[in-house]
């Protein structure tokens, strides 16, 4: 589903503002948990929530989930799957942070009573798309990519610098068009 007009530019501005708020330069990496702490978002490690060892063992084997966030009064908590790679966890946590920054309403309803089944009350493709896009900007901002390419960084070096993963770096390079920008600039220098 296409994002609403102006959202992409808005997400890049948020990525810059996040860095500025944290005392970072536009091209610096942004650590998801540090940014969450800055925003007052808390974390609940899975073993803190689930004490039963058998249940914990089942959860540690599950790969089908990445993270969820809940509100308790005004406090927001994120629970993420810590069995995933660091790069994937960074993206997942930034995705949850992005829901908060975008003011999205949560869509999964889980009854507190055990035994009752939950349901997805409404699935807004739009909000998932927005959170995905903003998470990408927060992790690998366009300004950061431009700096990295100017400094001759490889994709692997960018992964380390932005604390991200290869899939995200290559996706953001493609989506921002930074490579075409540099290629066009090199062509016009040669022509001049």
């Amino acid at each position: 589903m296409p994002l609403k007009r102006g959202f992409k530019a808005h997400a890049e501005r948020i990525a810059l503002k996040a860095r500025s708020d944290m005392g970072l330069q536009p091209h610096h990496g942004l650590h998801a948990k540090e940014y969450a702490a800055f925003l007052g978002i808390k974390f609940m490690p899975v073993p803190h929530a689930v004490k039963d060892k058998d249940h914990l063992a089942v959860l540690n084997r599950l790969d089908g989930w990445s993270a969820f966030s809940i509100m308790v009064g005004p406090a927001r908590y994120i629970v993420n799957n810590e069995t995933h790679s660091d790069g994937r966890q960074e993206t997942d946590i930034m995705h949850e942070i992005s829901h908060h920054l975008c003011g999205h309403q949560p869509s999964h309803a889980v009854p507190l009573r055990e035994g009752a089944s939950g349901q997805c009350r409404s699935y807004f493709k739009e909000i998932e798309g927005e959170a995905d896009w903003m998470a990408g900007c927060l992790k690998v901002p366009k300004a950061g990519l431009v700096w990295a390419i100017q400094n001759g960084m490889t994709n692997d070096e960018m992964v380390l610098h932005f604390r991200s993963n290869l899939k995200m770096v290559t996706f953001r390079r493609s989506m921002t068009g930074v490579d075409k920008m540099f290629s066009a600039s090199r062509s016009s220098s040669r022509a001049a």
Partner: protein
């Protein structure tokens, strides 16, 4: 029943951010909201949920900013705890097998209760 939305704060911010922009233009920008609805909200009428969410998005503010904090009212609420619904953003595969779904929902419940306990303790320390 007490209103869950801080309507005065929402109305004030909406009016201020709208600035010199006309009601019709602002309503168009917000999307699927009429100018007259926007005017009523600025005068203190509580919007429906969908309109409230759209306005928050336009303002660039999280919805939580305008929500009244939960309050305990004693035994009456305790009866309702059994019917309490936890709303969550969930990042997971779209199709989950029944065991995964059950395990995840249990985790969400446990995390919610642990967070509630932590917030209660925090409240006592403050």
């Amino acid at each position: 029943m007490a209103n869950p939305i801080k309507i005065n704060e929402l109305a004030a911010l909406l009016k201020s951010r709208r600035g010199g922009l006309g009601l019709r233009e602002a309503a168009e920008q917000i999307g699927d909201v009429s100018a007259s609805t926007l005017s009523r909200i600025e005068q203190g009428k509580v919007p429906d949920l969908e309109t409230f969410v759209k306005i928050c998005r336009w303002l660039g503010e999280p919805t939580e900013r305008f929500l009244e904090p939960e309050t305990h009212t004693g035994k009456k609420d305790r009866k309702n705890e059994d019917e309490e619904i936890i709303m969550a953003h969930l990042r997971a595969d779209k199709l989950l097998d029944p065991q995964t779904k059950t395990s995840l929902e249990h985790l969400i419940r446990m995390a919610y209760l642990a967070a509630k306990e932590a917030e209660k303790k925090q409240g006592r320390k403050a």
